[in-house]
């Protein structure tokens, strides 16, 4: 071939490659604009930090309010509203340098006063915010200068940063706090990329783009969270193009959507662990051999494959693998013969009768899981009645104090809101939090574990702390106050137009990174 022709061909080939390259890469360049329709299954009753509502509200708050610190997808702490931080030598003073030039939705700039107002609100005894205990490790907040703030603690707090990453620890505008106090329900004035634009009670919440966001122009113009309670209707909306993202589908729908073209399904590990809790004060569950027997009687792999259709992972601790401090205890493989032996050793060679209470529709495949457990325990001689209870009654039953508590077995799923094992140690495992003081609804008590928990709270050195919490998990798994079942995975389905949606280790979807392709 002539030289000119060769060169010509090369140039042409090169152009084609470059063109193809830009076309492919153009897919990945975020586009601006559009309205995201995020359809959820529960109504949002409040957006006020410290108050309880459907866990999907964390996703909404993620767009509105920002914390001092946050975690990236690998779980590492990264600066958000604080650019740097340090701990004093005695471990009692945490100093944070605030980012400059951050604007609130109401226009004023972020200063240490806003941080102080936020935490003072959370700790205010007059407000009695239901979830405030997580931040009550902070004894006071001190303003050093405009952009420097200190959090003082009475004792060293090992998991301070995880607590500050918690979805309810976002920094609010001091003016909003002054005006609304505890009842900030529909005035979540923060520094996030989206600002609150109104709601129809129980039906929808609307967010709009905040043009003065310090992190640059947000991708979307508007985000609408619609509440549609019926699972099948949400799926239909996605398929008919009325929804861009849906969450919390039943297992069968997950499979169906995975097989549908034009729909992208994502399964992300969550911090929530499904379990059957024992009332450790009620015979025969006061006998550890019986509790261990129940654990050996469960075929967890079959449960995940059969009931959850693969949407979940086997659990080997009371926290999920994505939680800091997780230590898997390889103990309870499926051994029904050993289960029977243990029951016989405990004095129940012919098994016994008990009741398993469960909610329905509260957790992914909750009732189906209970029925499967009933079946598996039945195979080793334990006859269970499955009792479906509505949520309000269920909560009351679980938190009834010991002398009137009638629960024997119950199904539940606890998440670690801060992404750190300390959250559940304080909330659930410590014997100081038996009902009615707290949520140790297993009435579990192990003095060694209590001592280890107390020690772990103060260990600022992560290596030392991990050694202690690993020991705690060994002990707790062997004490078996739960039948450890599985770790939930959060299913979400979206159209292929939606990009950048991630489920974060803080149990929220990252609507701040979502963009819509045209």
């Amino acid at each position: 071939m002539k030289v000119e022709k060769k060169i010509g061909l090369l140039v042409a080939a090169f152009s084609v490659v470059v063109l193809l390259g830009t076309m492919c890469c153009a897919e990945e360049t975020p586009q601006y604009g559009g309205t995201l329709r995020f359809v959820i299954g529960s109504p949002i009753t409040t957006l006020a930090p410290g108050k309880s509502t459907a866990s999907i509200a964390d996703t909404i708050n993620k767009g509105l309010i920002e914390q001092l610190v946050t975690r990236d997808m690998q779980g590492t702490f990264v600066p958000l509203l604080a650019t740097s931080w340090s701990i004093s030598d005695d471990g009692l003073v945490w100093t944070f340098q605030l980012r400059k030039g951050v604007k609130f939705h109401d226009g004023h700039e972020l200063t240490a006063e806003d941080v102080k107002a936020t935490f003072d609100r959370m700790l205010n005894p007059d407000f009695q915010l239901p979830l405030a205990s997580v931040l009550q490790v902070i004894s006071s907040v001190k303003i050093v200068d405009v952009y420097t703030v200190q959090l003082l603690t009475a004792a060293p707090v090992a998991d301070m940063l995880p607590r500050l990453c918690w979805c309810h620890a976002g920094i609010l505008s001091k003016d909003a706090v002054a005006q609304w106090g505890a009842d900030l329900d529909w005035h979540p004035v923060g520094t996030g990329p989206y600002k609150f634009d109104g709601h129809v009670p129980e039906e929808s919440v609307t967010l709009v783009r905040f043009d003065d966001y310090w992190g640059g122009r947000p991708y979307l113009d508007k985000v609408v969270f619609l509440t549609v309670r019926e699972d099948a209707t949400r799926v239909a909306m996605l398929l008919a193009g009325e929804a861009d993202v849906i969450v919390d589908m039943p297992a069968a729908d997950v499979q169906r959507l995975q097989a549908t073209s034009g729909i992208h399904v994502a399964l992300a590990p969550s911090t929530r662990v499904a379990h059957i809790g024992f009332n450790c004060l009620k015979p025969p569950f006061d006998n550890v051999l019986v509790r261990e027997a129940c654990n050996y009687a469960i075929d967890r792999d079959a449960l995940v494959a059969g009931v959850l259709k693969g949407v979940g992972a086997v659990s080997d601790s009371f926290v999920s693998p994505i939680v800091w401090g997780y230590y898997g205890v390889d103990e309870y493989s499926y051994q029904p013969d050993k289960a029977r032996q243990l029951l016989a050793a405990a004095g129940y060679p012919n098994g016994f009768h008990a009741t398993l209470a469960t909610p329905q529709g509260r957790y992914f495949m909750d009732k189906e899981t209970a029925v499967a457990v009933q079946d598996m325990l039945g195979a080793v001689g334990i006859q269970l009645d499955v009792k479906v209870v509505d949520w309000a009654t269920y909560l009351s039953m679980l938190t009834t104090p010991r002398d009137k508590n009638e629960i024997e077995l119950y199904l539940l799923g606890w998440e670690s809101g801060t992404g750190d094992i300390g959250y559940l140690l304080d909330l659930l495992i410590d014997s100081a939090v038996w009902p009615p003081s707290g949520w140790n609804t297993m009435f579990y008590k192990n003095a060694t574990v209590d001592a280890l928990i107390a020690a772990s709270r103060r260990l600022l050195n992560p290596v030392e702390r991990y050694a202690v919490v690993s020991q705690i998990q060994e002990l707790v798994v062997h004490d078996a106050p739960w039948i450890f079942l599985f770790v939930f995975q959060s299913p979400s389905a979206s159209t292929t137009k939606v990009h950048g949606l991630q489920f974060l280790p803080t149990e929220a979807y990252s609507i701040d990174t979502v963009w819509l392709a045209k």
Binding site: S52, L131, V228, E230, M237, A240, E242, A392, L427
Partner: protein, 306 residues
């Protein structure tokens, strides 16, 4: 006539009072603590007591009931225990939405059901008759839930001619109205058919035919008018049934109406809202019955009210 109306009015007030008292007492017998539901899992014991105190749940029954009655008479319908919204606001637009839905459903049911029933009665034992009756069995037996989801699947997902959810406009009303109306079509058709058959066998119909009245006059002027009383009673009862059954249709189509609000309030133990809803529904039932009774005089001039 006036004394009839006044008597019924007083009766309604008594009914409402008793209903409100019974509903209020339920707060004592139903398990489940609204303060716990509001505070949520993971909440501190102190915060739960604080919520209980704020909602006055620690006060004795008669004090709370008297307080509630008092505020009701001064026009204050109370606040939702869960969302803190005024109950009037929560219920107001939802009631209108449900009325729109049940009105459309019932209207559809009457427009389709009555002619079906009349035709079935006229052409008795024909293919049309049997076909209508089979269809009506289908309509009575199929669960509302299933009908709704099937309609969504075919018309909204597959064919994309109608929307799945949403309100405001005829397009959004079609599927929900058909879903809620199917059951009533069947019942009204059957009642119309049996009532017509009874009337068609009467002497005066034979007389009318002998007189030389046209077929159309006989059916629509003479027979149907005489058959109307059981039919209108059924329609009136259907209104009550639809208001209650709206919760299923409203859940499937995400229609914000009082049916769903009712279900939610029960599950969340939101008693302030529940009280008002129960009163509202009792009043609607009573009013529907009253209007049905009044209408008798339209169809049968012999009926008097004294």
């Amino acid at each position: 006539m006036l004394s009839f109306a006044v008597g019924r009015g007083l009766g309604l007030l008594v009914v409402l009072f008793v209903v409100s008292l019974v509903t209020f007492s339920l707060t004592y017998f139903v398990p489940g603590d609204v303060a716990l539901v509001i505070a949520g899992p993971g909440s501190s014991a102190k915060s739960i007591s604080a919520i209980r105190a704020k909602l006055h749940l620690d006060r004795p029954f008669h004090v709370r009931y008297a307080q509630w009655l008092g505020s009701l008479f001064s026009g204050d319908l109370g606040e939702s225990a869960i969302t803190k919204e005024p109950v009037g606001q929560m219920v107001g637009f939802r009631f209108l939405n449900t009325l729109e839905l049940t009105g459309a459903g019932l209207g559809l049911a009457v427009i389709l059901g009555m002619p079906m029933g009349v035709l079935a009665a006229i052409k008795r034992n024909s293919l049309l008759d049997y076909g209508t009756m089979v269809l009506s069995v289908f309509g009575i037996s199929m669960p509302i839930f299933w009908i709704g989801l099937m309609l969504i699947y075919f018309f909204a997902v597959r064919l994309r001619v109608l929307p799945v959810t949403g309100q405001g406009g005829l397009r959004h009303l079609v599927l929900p109205a058909v879903t809620i109306g199917v059951n009533s079509v069947a019942i009204i058709a059957r009642m119309t058919r049996s009532s017509m058959l009874e009337v068609l066998g009467s002497d005066y119909i034979r007389t009318a035919k002998a007189k030389g009245c046209s077929e159309r006059q006989v059916i629509w002027l003479h027979a149907l008018r005489n058959a109307m009383i059981p039919i209108i009673t059924t329609i009136g009862m259907q209104l009550g049934y639809l208001m209650g059954g709206a919760v299923l249709t409203e859940t499937v189509f995400a229609w914000s109406g009082i049916g769903r609000l009712f279900a939610d309030s029960v599950f969340r133990r939101d008693f302030p809202v529940l009280q008002i809803l129960v009163l509202l529904l009792a009043a609607v039932f009573a009013l529907a019955n009253f209007l049905v009774d009044l209408s008798y005089s339209l169809f049968d001039p012999r009926v008097r009210y004294d």
